[in-house]
Amino acid sequence: MNELVLKIENLTKTYKLGKRDVQPLIDLNLEVRRGEFTAIMGPSGSGKTTLLNLIGCLDKPTSGSVLIDNIDIARLPESQLYKIRRDKIGFIFQNFNLLPYLNARENVELAMELAGKFKGQRKQRALELLATVGLSEREQHRPQRLSQGEQQRVAIARALANDPAIILADEPTGNLDKNSKQEIVKLLANLNQKQGATIIMVTHDEHIAASAERILFLSDGKIQEKQA
C-alpha cells in the first residue's frame, strides 16, 4: 500500500453569513494515498469546492487538521502557505483561469517561475508538458486563440509543472463539450496511470467520475465512500 499523501481529521468549515452560520463541512475525515485518482461527487452546495479550497490552502479550516505530506497546513501562516500551494498543489479550474496576456508555454512556465526555476530549465519542461497534453503545436498561442478543451489541457500542463503532491481539479469538464470532456478525463486517467499523479477531482457527471478508481460522496458535511 502506498503512503498517505493527504490526511484530513475532524475538518469543520463554518461560514458566517450575517447572523446565520453555513456549515458545509462538519467533522469530515478523509485519507488519500499517493497515486490515487479520487472523484468527489455531491449535490450543488454540498461543500465540494469548499473542501478542495481547504486542501489547496486557498482557505482556512474553522477546526480540524489537514495534513499534506505530514505537514498540518491548518496551522501554517500565509508566509508558509504560498509555498505549499506552489510546491505541493496543482490546481485545475472549471474555467481554466489561464492568464490572457501569456501564451500557452508562458502560462505553463509561470508556475515554475514563481517557484524560482531558471529560464532554460523552465522552457524545456514547459515544452515537454505541452507535448504530454498534446499541444506542442500551440506553444505560442494565447488562450483566446485556443479551444476550450485546449485551454484546459494547458491548465493541466500548468498544474503538473512543479511536480505537485496532489492535483486538485474542481469540475474540470464542467465547461466543456462532450468530446473535450472525454479527452480531458482520458488525459487525467493517463497521467494517473502512467505518471502516478495523485488526483482529486470534483464532478457532477457520473460517467466522468467512473474513470476514477475511487468515488466519494459529499453530503451533510461528511464523506461517504462508494463501495465498488
Binding site: L58, I89, N97, L99, Y101, L102, E106, A111
Partner: protein
C-alpha cells in the same frame, strides 16, 4: 517572462486606458520638470532687476544728491540807479559779501563745503563773469556741477587754472573767438580753453577762476554767493536753519524741487525693490504649491487607475496565488505596473518639457519683473534722475540633463506612491474569495 514582462503586457493590453493615463500624467510631469528651472530663471530675472535698481539708486544718490544737497546763500538783491545815455536806469544788484566775514559757515554742522563764487555782469554786452575757486582739486572732483556742464569744444576748467576762460557759445560768437584764441574781458586778456554749448536753462557765463574774476572786477576778497553743500539730502533743512540762525541777513535758497524729487525717487526705488522681492517670493511659493498639487493629483490618478485594475483582475490575482505567488510577488507586480505607467508618462513628459517648458513656465508662474530703464538727465542747473517703471518679462527655460533625471526619479516616486495602496490591497486579497469573484 518575468514580472516585468507581465507588467508591460498588462499595460499594453489596455491601450486606450494606458494612453489616457499617460497623456494626463505626462502633462503633469512636464509641468513638474518645468517648474524648478522656471523658478530659477524667473528669480534670476527678478534678481537682475533688483541689482539694476540698487545700482541705479546708487548712481542717483551720488549725482542727484550732489545737486540736491546744494544751497545758495546770498544777501537780498538791492536796487541801483545809474545815469544812462538817455535816462536813469534802474537795475537789481546782488550785494557782495566779504568772504572772511562768513568764515564761520565752514563750521556749521553737516556742511561739507562752502564755496564762494562771484557773479558780475558786464555792462558792455549782457554776459556775466562767473568766478569759481579752482584751487581745490578734491572739491572739483566731488562736485563737478560747480563747473560748466556742456563743453562742446576745447576742455573744461580744471584745478590750478589761471588766466583762462570757458565761454558760453553766444559770448564766443559775440567776440568772434574760438578755442586757443585770446579774448579781452574787463580789460584783461584771457585764453579761451573751452566753449560751453547752448542749453535750455544755462546762463551766458564767462567762467574763470574766482581770483581772476575778483581781480578784473576789483572785488578781491569778495563773493556774491556762498554755495554750501550739506553732507546728505536729509540734513539740508537743518543746515539751512543753522545758517539763517548764524547770519540772519542771508537768504538761503535750497533746491526744493530737486530735493522733493530725490525723496520721491527714494520712495519709488524702495517700493520697486519691495515689489521685486515680493514677486520673487511669490514665484517660489506658487511653484511649490503647484508642484504639490500636481504630485497629489498625479498619485491620485495612479491610485484610482490601479485600484480599478486590481478590482478588474481579482480573479487573476486569485489564480496567481493558487499557483503559489507570495503576497510580496503580488505587491511587487502591481507596484511595478504603476511605476512603469508613471515612468512612461515621465519620459513623454520630459519630451513635452524640452519643447514646451518656456510656455509652461509663463502659464504656471507669476511673471518676473524687469525694469524698462533708468534715466538720468543732466541739465545746466543740476542733475535730474528718474528710475524707469517695472514691467513683467517673460523668461526662457531649458530642461537640463539633471532635470531629466529628476523628472524620471519623480515619476518613479509618483508611480510607487500612487500604486502602493492598490498593490497592498491586491496582496491582501484572499484567494478563495478571489476565485469566486466574477
Amino acid at each position: 517572462m518575468g514580472i516585468l514582462t507581465r507588467a508591460t503586457r498588462n499595460i499594453a493590453r489596455r491601450k486606450t486606458r494606458a494612453l489616457l493615463v499617460i497623456v494626463a500624467l505626462s502633462l503633469a510631469l512636464a509641468m513638474i520638470v518645468s517648474i524648478p528651472p522656471s523658478i530659477t530663471a524667473s528669480q534670476e530675472a527678478t534678481q537682475k532687476t533688483i541689482d539694476n535698481l540698487t545700482t541705479a539708486a546708487k548712481i542717483v544718490a551720488s549725482t542727484v544728491n550732489m545737486a540736491a544737497t546744494q544751497m545758495d546763500c546770498n544777501l537780498p538783491l538791492t536796487l541801483r540807479t545809474d545815469a544812462g545815455p538817455y535816462h536813469n536806469e534802474t537795475t537789481f544788484e546782488r550785494p557782495l559779501m566779504n568772504i572772511t566775514e562768513y568764515s564761520n559757515l565752514t563750521y556749521v554742522q553737516h556742511v561739507t563745503y562752502v564755496v564762494p563764487v562771484l557773479e558780475q555782469r558786464a555792462y558792455d554786452w549782457p554776459y556775466t563773469v562767473y568766478g569759481v575757486p579752482l584751487d581745490d582739486a578734491t572739491l572739483l572732483s566731488s562736485y563737478p556741477i560747480l563747473l560748466p556742464a556742456n563743453i562742446t569744444a576745447g576742455r573744461n576748467l580744471q584745478a590750478g587754472d589761471s588766466g583762462v576762460v570757458v565761454l558760453h557759445e553766444r559770448i564766443a560768437n559775440h567776440f568772434g573767438v574760438a578755442v586757443g584764441e585770446t579774448v579781452n574781458i574787463f580789460g584783461r586778456d584771457f585764453e579761451v580753453v573751452g566753449i560751453e554749448g547752448q542749453e535750455a536753462l544755462n546762463t551766458t557765463y564767462a567762467t574763470m577762476s574766482l581770483s581772476d574774476a575778483q581781480a578784473i572786477t576789483n572785488t578781491t576778497g569778495q563773493a556774491s554767493t556762498f554755495i554750501v553743500f550739506a553732507d546728505s539730502v536729509d540734513n539740508v533743512y537743518a543746515v539751512k536753519e543753522q545758517i539763517v540762525g548764524a547770519y540772519p541777513k542771508l537768504t538761503v535758497t535750497i533746491a526744493q524741487t530737486l530735493l522733493n524729487q530725490v525723496y520721491q525717487m527714494q520712495r519709488q526705488t524702495n517700493e520697486q525693490l519691495q515689489q521685486a522681492h515680493e514677486t520673487m517670493n511669490q514665484i517660489e511659493s506658487t511653484g511649490i504649491v503647484e508642484m504639490g498639487i500636481i504630485t497629489i493629483a498625479d498619485s491620485a490618478i495612479i491610485l484610482f487607475i490601479m485600484l480599478y485594475t486590481v478590482r478588474e483582475r481579482t480573479k487573476e490575482i486569485g489564480t496567481l496565488k493558487a499557483l503559489g505567488a507570495s503576497n510580496t510577488t503580488i505587491l511587487g507586480q502591481f507596484m511595478l505596473e504603476g511605476v512603469l505607467l508613471s515612468l512612461i508618462a515621465g519620459i513623454v513628459g520630459i519630451v513635452i518639457g524640452i519643447f514646451g517648458a518656456t510656455s509652461l513656465a509663463n502659464i504656471l508662474l507669476p511673471q518676473p519683473i524687469t525694469q524698462t530703464g533708468i534715466g538720468i538727465t543732466t541739465s545746466g542747473s543740476g542733475t535730474w534722475g528718474g528710475s524707469g517703471s517695472l514691467t513683467a518679462a517673460s523668461i526662457s527655460v531649458t530642461i537640463t540633463p539633471e532635470l531629466m533625471l529628476f523628472g524620471l526619479g519623480f515619476s518613479v516616486l509618483l508611480g510607487a506612491l500612487g500604486s502602493l495602496y492598490p498593490a497592498w490591497r491586491a496582496a491582501r486579497i484572499r484567494p478563495a474569495e478571489a476565485m469566486r469573484y466574477e
